[in-house]
Symmetry: D2
Subunit: 342 residues, 4 copies
């Protein structure tokens, strides 16, 4: 059994990790920390877990995380980097669901996240936890940087095109739409029901933290910097990301075959039949990414539609997938979930 | 393995049955029928099932249902009663998710459902599939009438009070609110997003088909006819029923203890702590009913709050629970689901 | 022209007042205060007002409210009572949209609102601003206590029954459902889209601040204390309240005629035809209350359905209606609005 | 007073026309037709209109439309073209809210709309009713083709760029998101609350009827055919369109000044301040289009954000704006509406 700890269990990625882990046959939940809610029963804060979790939130100072085999950080940015070295030194493996170890360029990270990085050397060691790209490295990783939600949906959609070198890498466009849970379980006015409900808007057009992460990931494929316009939008949806991706084709190619072959052996990427329009609800609650590829009117613009559940493949589910890989378990352990539709 | 057939697989109770059954370790899905969509792949209509179901919808005339061990009817009212006798004669057991076998009073059924009943004698044989009341009879039943969604939430909330005889049975009130999926996957204007969204209304105040079903169920407890005012409402929710129940107390009683004791051994009824307000999302996607009991200002009115997912405990989940009981399986097989929150 | 000031213009009742007042032909907006957002353009915070409002939020200390003819308080509870005396002394009339002047019983107010009242004598002077009850007194009032949202919907539904003395006043039930804007524009987790969306729950069953306000209002009608069970619910709706009211009939009466006669001359109360189910969207954005009355199965329980827009008839619209009455304007000035449907 | 008739008053554009016209000081509503609902009171179908409309739906065969000054067609495609010639011959002016007169290329129209056109000569006469382009021609038009919802939002966003010739016209991208009311008040499964709610998807990527309309409109500006990739999406919103537009800049230009100057005298196009992200709710219920222009990271991609209410500026409001122009009324008569927020 894998002894697991969760740091920061009161946010949406925390409760989603719990939803998945309580049914994982190889996991023992040791400890869940919360600074603000220490002493509260986990299932009092999240009644959906009544009958599944018998733990209380523990104050971080009183949690013996070093006794765990694996610790998940489901914390705000900037927390994991403070505690990871000590855990690694104790032989604990770490998966950070926040952004602390995602950007190799420390200066860029410090600019986008507005703080000084505590351990740049660990950034260099960390493995970017997108299994469809990095599965082998993840197996032996001590420290995994779990990808962001937008970066997961966008990269999985662009990878086959960039792998094959069939689009102009200097003029990519990612028009992405996210459900409101992507903003986290934080008391902020723009995320109120009466603000985000029955409303649609773009945000962060001038720049969003996920832009450098996506560009770094795509550059890994092409070997060169890519040009990307990334426009995120907030849509009145609880869960779900829909990325609509545009590229300019530079050569003739069977797009459908290209995508199907790239993901033929991937359990969690589903290339849909020609002409499909994946819906976010078709992956609700599951770790699946569904993709469709179009070439409207046979022109030179390729359109890729890529959907994930931002809390699962975009966060907690991908973290569990990474854990399964790190511990040599079947990759879909505890992730064999039928999406909830309707 | 139980060989299972589903008649009418294109509605919400059908796809929900599929969601639950494809992960059931003792079930083999033999056949799923649809008159209108015969020949279509099931996972083309419901892409959430891609990777889980490999079947096509089969025309009812070409489905060899008599080869099944169990057939679920997820059909409109009036279909199951046409086909059940032949199936029972072939040794197939039947669970009807519609209303054909719910009302013992045939005249009442014919009035509320507006058609002549095809097999009154089978109504007498059918077992009302509310396990918390009828578990023993369900074990050996050939034919189970799966309860309606409102009746499940309302009966589970009133049963402890009526069992104990502590409320005036002549003046019960059930103010119930349902998500829109309760109206089924039918093309009807009032269920459109632009009609039911951002809107709240009562309906059927003069009379609703679930009223006689609830009254029949409650009269089973009291031994006498009960007086019930039942007001259903439509709320902009996909899944979920919230029943707010009112009764006039006739004697002093420890309400919390009463409820906890009544449901102490029930896996799917969760009596919440004193002072709780169960949310519909706390049971989303699961077979749980959560209940809280209140006595505002210490007055003589008891208020019971009862929530279920109308498609699970209110339909497909309860049907699977009944199947598990009928086939001597652990009652929570394939139903050990953590609700999806948020 | 009436010179109007608004204290606390950044909440939902504030922006709703602005929506109505900017098109009011007899109103000049003098000043809008905000402690936190002083110096910000009003239409920067609320882009819906671009082209209609050219003002900046002013710090309360710098607002010359005493130059106004009328000041609206759209503030949290406990603010208006601090400033009202000085304004009245300067000859300014006041409408408080919060609860400071609603409860005549000061001890009760202090218990429910958790603070000491600053000016009990003004409570005695204040007129409760429900025009359908108090129109004459409102005309000459210096200080109007604008009713709460639930109290408006519930009282308008019960008044005809209590006026006529046809129900048992000791056992009234009000099962009320509110949209999330009723919680205000405050950064609180339970009001997040990802919390309140696709979710339904009761709250405050043990006691809610609107309970004493409703009981006080109903007792005004009957002359005696009434017995009321009040259960509020949160529903995933931006605007709207639906009150479902239950009473036990004590004598035979033509309920439809009773309601129609009571409200025959009321512009903002619409008694719907027999058998109707008013929808919250049928009053969205308007000052109308729509009511239907039912007697299910001819029993002794009367069911009243009453809907309002909580921000209009339940707050800002009723405040403007009161202003119109106080300044001898046609009561529907600036309130002749067609509800937004869909 | 303008005597107005509405053909097809039971859909969303019909009820929205009614919402606007009942408060129009220069309009007399003569007749509203409905084939299916003839004889029904208009305010029985749409209770939001109680107190504002006293008419019944009239069967088309019994409506004396020739007595009107102006007839609006709020009908499905293919109806207006059958009746327009007779009306014009009787001296009645016509505004068609459907697509019958929008495409000059008859062959293209017949391909996209799947029927033979009944009066190609009238297409040549019809004026495309986008006032920001065609105001002068609209003044004297007998027949106005009211633009589609997507075409309005997309054209208004691209016009300044194409007018100034600062983007590559061969590679435009319009990623557009619409609320569900855009699908009309039709009983179709994909528009059900339980299908479209909490869900997001693209549709019609291979081709959408609004594509040729937009391309025709943009070609009017450039004088040449444009290259456009148009991807519409369905978002869980009742009203609202958000178009995110992408173009490749071909020369340096002050984008903000360009947009502000182009629309300086337009009452219904609001160019927002630099850095803005217009929300759909900021135009809810109003005839406004709000636009923001961005150039992310100073690159060569310009991003335009354009929002409208699809039922107002995208349909009924623009139709009333056109009527006001045709009858020499102030253009904002009956359209001086503050958007409903929240």
């Amino acid at each position: 059994m894998i002894k697991v700890g969760i740091v920061g269990g009161t946010g949406y990625t925390g409760v989603e990790l719990l939803r998945l882990l309580v049914l994982h046959p190889q996991v023992t939940l040791q400890v869940i920390t919360s600074r603000a809610d220490a002493g509260t029963r986990v299932d009092q804060m999240f009644p959906s877990l009544r009958g599944f979790v018998d733990l209380l939130f523990v104050h971080p100072d009183e949690a013996s995380l070093e006794l765990c085999d694996l610790v998940f950080f489901a914390t705000p940015n900037g927390i994991a980097m403070q505690q990871t070295r000590a855990l690694l030194d104790s032989g604990v493996r770490v998966i950070d669901l926040a952004a602390d170890f995602r950007l190799l360029d420390i200066a860029s990270w410090e600019k986008w996240y507005g703080m000084k990085h505590a351990c740049p050397d660990l950034v260099a060691e960390a493995v970017y936890g997108l299994p469809e790209i990095n599965r082998e490295k993840i197996k032996s990783a001590r420290l995994v940087a779990n990808p962001g939600c937008y970066p997961t949906a966008v990269q999985l959609g662009f990878i086959p095109l960039l792998d094959a070198g069939v689009v102009e890498a200097s003029s990519l466009i990612a028009d992405a739409k996210s459900g409101v849970s992507g903003a986290g379980r934080k008391a902020e006015i723009p995320a109120l029901f009466a603000e985000a409900g029955d409303n649609f808007k773009a945000y962060g057009v001038a720049g969003h933290r996920h832009l450098p992460e996506i560009k770094q990931g795509l550059a890994r494929i092409t070997g060169n910097e890519v040009g990307l316009t990334f426009v995120p939008h907030l849509t009145p949806l609880i869960r779900g990301i829909h990325a609509t991706l545009y590229g300019r084709l530079t050569k003739e190619v069977d797009l459908q075959a290209l995508f199907e072959q790239r993901y033929a052996s991937e359990a969690f990427v589903d290339v849909m039949p020609v002409g499909s329009h994946p819906e976010t609800r078709s992956v609700r609650g599951s770790n699946r990414c569904r993709i469709a590829v179009h070439r409207p009117q046979g022109g030179d613009t390729v359109v890729v539609l890529s959907v994930i559940d931002n809390l699962v493949k975009g966060a907690a589910g991908q973290a569990v997938q990474n854990m399964n890989i790190m511990f040599n378990l079947p990759e879909n352990t505890a992730l064999n979930i039928v999406p909830l539709l309707p």
